[in-house]
Symmetry: C2
Subunit: 389 residues, 2 copies
C-alpha cells in the first residue's frame, strides 16, 4: 500500500435550511464579506435574499461580485481581487456551483499576490496565503465545495488552467439539497456524469489501495447510477438530490485518492471537447468515459471491471470480459437514460480532422503517456475520440 496524506479540513452543514449557519460560519473569520455569484438564478430561487438577510441581521458587511461565467474568466477574478483590496474583504462567500466557487478560490489567493492573478493560475508556487471561503452550494457536480482546486479560463489567451493548493479548501460549505431542485434536467445529468468521472479516473488503476477507499468509490457510483436518473425525472426528489449532493463532495475531496494514483486522462481528453465544441463538461465526460472504458478493458484492468460490474450493477458471470462489457453497456444506458448523448457528432463535431490535434494536445499537455501502466499514447487518445465520433 502506498503512503498518503489525508487532509480535508472543510466543515459541512448539510440539509434543509442550513443556510441559517451562514452568519456563524462567516463570523469565525471576519465581518466583511464579498458575495460571489453567477447570473440571477439565486435571486429567482430566493437563496440570495435569504443569505443577505442573514448577513445584514448579524451585522456582517457585504458587497458583491456577480456575473461569474460557467467557465470562470480571469477577468472576473481580477475584478473580485480589486473589490477585496478596496473594501478590505475578510471572507469570500460564493453562492452557486463549481464555477462560482472556483472563481472565489482564485480571488482568495490573488488578493495576496501583487502581480497579475493569471500568473498564479499558471504557477501555483506563487501562492502565499488565501482569504477564507464559506461556500453555499447550489449544484451537485464538481465537488469544489470540499476540494482544493479551481479551474480558471483566460478568453484573451484561449487558455484554461488549474490552481491546486491545500489552502483552497473552503473553511465551511453549506449543502442544502433543496437548492438543487431547480437545476434543469440536462445540468443535473451532466453533474451526475461529472461526479462519476471523478471516480472513474481512479477506479481502474489496479493499485493496492485501502479497502474502505475501494468501497467508497463503489458507494459514490451506486448513488450516481441509482439516484441520477431519479433526480432527472423527479427534480424535487429530496432523497435523490441529497444523496447526489453528498456523494459529489466525497467523489473528489481527496478521500478516494488516498494511496491511489491517476493522471486524469479522461479529463485531459474532455477539456479538448469543451474547447473545441463548447460542450458542458459533464456531458463531455460521459462521452469520453464510456469510450475510454471500452479502450482500456484488458487483462490489467479486468479485475477492476468485474468488481465494478458486481458492486455497482450486481452483474456477475462466468466470462469476465462479457461481465465487464455488460457493465460498460449499463453505464452508457444510465447516461442515456438521463438524456446524455454519447457521440462527438451529437455535440457538434463535424470534422474528423479535429481528432489528431485534440489527441496530441490531451496527451502532451497533460503527460498522459508518462503514467506507467495507465499511460495513453496519442494513438490511444485518437482511437478513443474516433470510437465515439
Amino acid at each position: 500500500m502506498e503512503n498518503f496524506i489525508y487532509n480535508v479540513p472543510t466543515k459541512i452543514a448539510f440539509g434543509k435550511g442550513q443556510i441559517r449557519m451562514l452568519p456563524e460560519f462567516v463570523k469565525e473569520y471576519g465581518k466583511k464579506v464579498l458575495l460571489v455569484y453567477g447570473g440571477g438564478s439565486i435571486k429567482r430561487t430566493g437563496i440570495y435574499g435569504e443569505a443577505v438577510k442573514l448577513l445584514s441581521e448579524n451585522g456582517i458587511f457585504y458587497t458583491e461580485l456577480s456575473g461569474v461565467e460557467p467557465n470562470p474568466q480571469i477577468a472576473t477574478v481580477r475584478k473580485g481581487i480589486e473589490i477585496c483590496k478596496k473594501e478590505q474583504i475578510e471572507v469570500l462567500v460564493p453562492i452557486g456551483g463549481g464555477s462560482t466557487i472556483d472563481c472565489a478560490k482564485a480571488i482568495a489567493v490573488g488578493v495576496f499576490y501583487d502581480g497579475d492573478a493569471w500568473d498564479i493560475v499558471k504557477n501555483n508556487e506563487l501562492i502565499t496565503d488565501a482569504l477564507p471561503i464559506v461556500s453555499v452550494l447550489t449544484v451537485a457536480a464538481t465537488g469544489s465545495e470540499m476540494d482544493s482546486s479551481s479551474v480558471i479560463s483566460n478568453a484573451a489567451e484561449c487558455d484554461k488552467a488549474e490552481i491546486n493548493a491545500d489552502i483552497l479548501y473552503p473553511k465551511c460549505s453549506i449543502l442544502d439539497p433543496s437548492y438543487t431542485f431547480t437545476v434543469p434536467a440536462y445540468q443535473t445529468a451532466a453533474g451526475v456524469a461529472d461526479i462519476m468521472s471523478h471516480i472513474f479516473e481512479y477506479y481502474f488503476s489496479g493499485m493496492d489501495i485501502p479497502d474502505i477507499q475501494k468501497d467508497m468509490m463503489d458507494a459514490v457510483l451506486k448513488v450516481c447510477v441509482h439516484y441520477g436518473p431519479i433526480a432527472v425525472k423527479e427534480p424535487d426528489n429530496e432523497k435523490a438530490r441529497a444523496n447526489l449532493m453528498w456523494a459529489a463532495s466525497w467523489a473528489i475531496n481527496g478521500f478516494i485518492a488516498c494511496g491511489n494514483f491517476s493522471s486524469w486522462p479522461c479529463h485531459a481528453m474532455e477539456y479538448q471537447l469543451t474547447n473545441q465544441y463548447h460542450v458542458t463538461h459533464g456531458h463531455g465526460m460521459a462521452i469520453i468515459d464510456a469510450a475510454w472504458m471500452e479502450h482500456i478493458l484488458s487483462e490489467r484492468t479486468l479485475a477492476d471491471f468485474t468488481r465494478y460490474a458486481d458492486a455497482v450493477f450486481g452483474i456477475t458471470g462466468k466470462d469476465p470480459y462479457e461481465t465487464a462489457r455488460t457493465a460498460i453497456e449499463k453505464t452508457k444506458a444510465v447516461y442515456e437514460e438521463m438524456g446524455l448523448t454519447l457521440t462527438l457528432r451529437s455535440i457538434g463535431a463535424s470534422d474528423p480532422g479535429d481528432i489528431p490535434k485534440m489527441a496530441e494536445k490531451a496527451v502532451t499537455e497533460f503527460g498522459l503517456d508518462d503514467a506507467g501502466e495507465m499511460s495513453l499514447t496519442i494513438s490511444d487518445a485518437a482511437q478513443i475520440y474516433e470510437s465515439c465520433y
Copy 2:
C-alpha cells in the same frame, strides 16, 4: 434525511516511515513539546528513539510525561497540566494508543482552566481552549487519533467520564501500520472488536441516512471481519494492519454518525463490565455486542440485519430472521476466531447478583430508556447481561 454537521479537521500522514512528518507537523503549532506516553513499549520498539531524534534534529524542545495508564487517570492528567504550565508547552505529542491520546486531550483543555481538571471532565462546558495535539498512533482501536473525545478515570472517586468537544480533534496524526505489528494477539482482537462496536452502535438505528454512510459502515465491518483474524494470526501482515488502522479512524471520526443517531447502549453496558471485572474494553464490547444483537433482532431492525448479513458476510436467504441469526452467529465466530470469549463467566463474573445493579447503572446513567425506538429498559439490559452470563 436528518440535517447534520460534518467537521473532521484532523490531517493524517499514513504509511510506513511517516514519523518523518513529525517535525513539520509540530512546527506548524510551536517548538515546545510535551511527549505523552504509557509504559516502555515505545522505547523497546524504537518509536520513541526515532521521535526524539527527529525533534532534536529540528530544534524542537521536548519534555515528557510517561506512565499513562490503560484507563488514563485524572492524577496523570493533572501532572501533565502542571508540566505544560511550568514549561510553557505549545504542542502535545502523545505516542501510543487511545489511552495515551485521551490523556493528552484532557491535558490540552486542562491547561486553559484554572480549577481542577476533573471539573472539565464532568462538565465539558468549562472548556475554553485547547493546546494543539499531534498524535503518533501505535494501536488500531479507539479512533482517538481522529476523533473529538477522551475518556478519563478517577480512581479516587471510582468514576469515569468523557470529554467531548470539536476542539479535541488532533491537528495531525501519524498512522504507521508497522507500529502495530508488535501489538499482542489479545490486544489486536480487542481492538478489532472495539472498531466493530463503534459501527454497531449506529448500524441498527433504522434511520434514513445517506447511502455513502451506510456503505462506509459495511466497508469498515468488512475490513474487521476479514483482516481481524489475519492480523491475530500474522501480526506483521502489512495489508491487514494497514486496513485495520485506517478503518479504525473512520469508524468513529464523525463521518458515519452524519445524519444518524445512537444512544451508545452497548458502550454503556460494557462500561459496567470494565468497572466490575476489569476486562479490556474491546473484549467487553464483543460480549455485549453479540448478546445485544440477539436481543434487538425484531421487525424494526430486520432490514438492517439482512443488509448486514448480505453486505458483510454475503449471506442471503428466503427467511430474513434466519439470515439475521446466521449473521449474528458469523459475528460471534469472528470474535472467537480471534480468541475472544463471549461470556461474562469467562471474564471473571461469578455472582449473577451483579446484574441488576449493572443494568440499572447502564440504563439510568446513560439514559438508555430515553432513546425512542432504540430504547432499552433496565429489564432489557438485565436480559442482555443474563444471556451472555
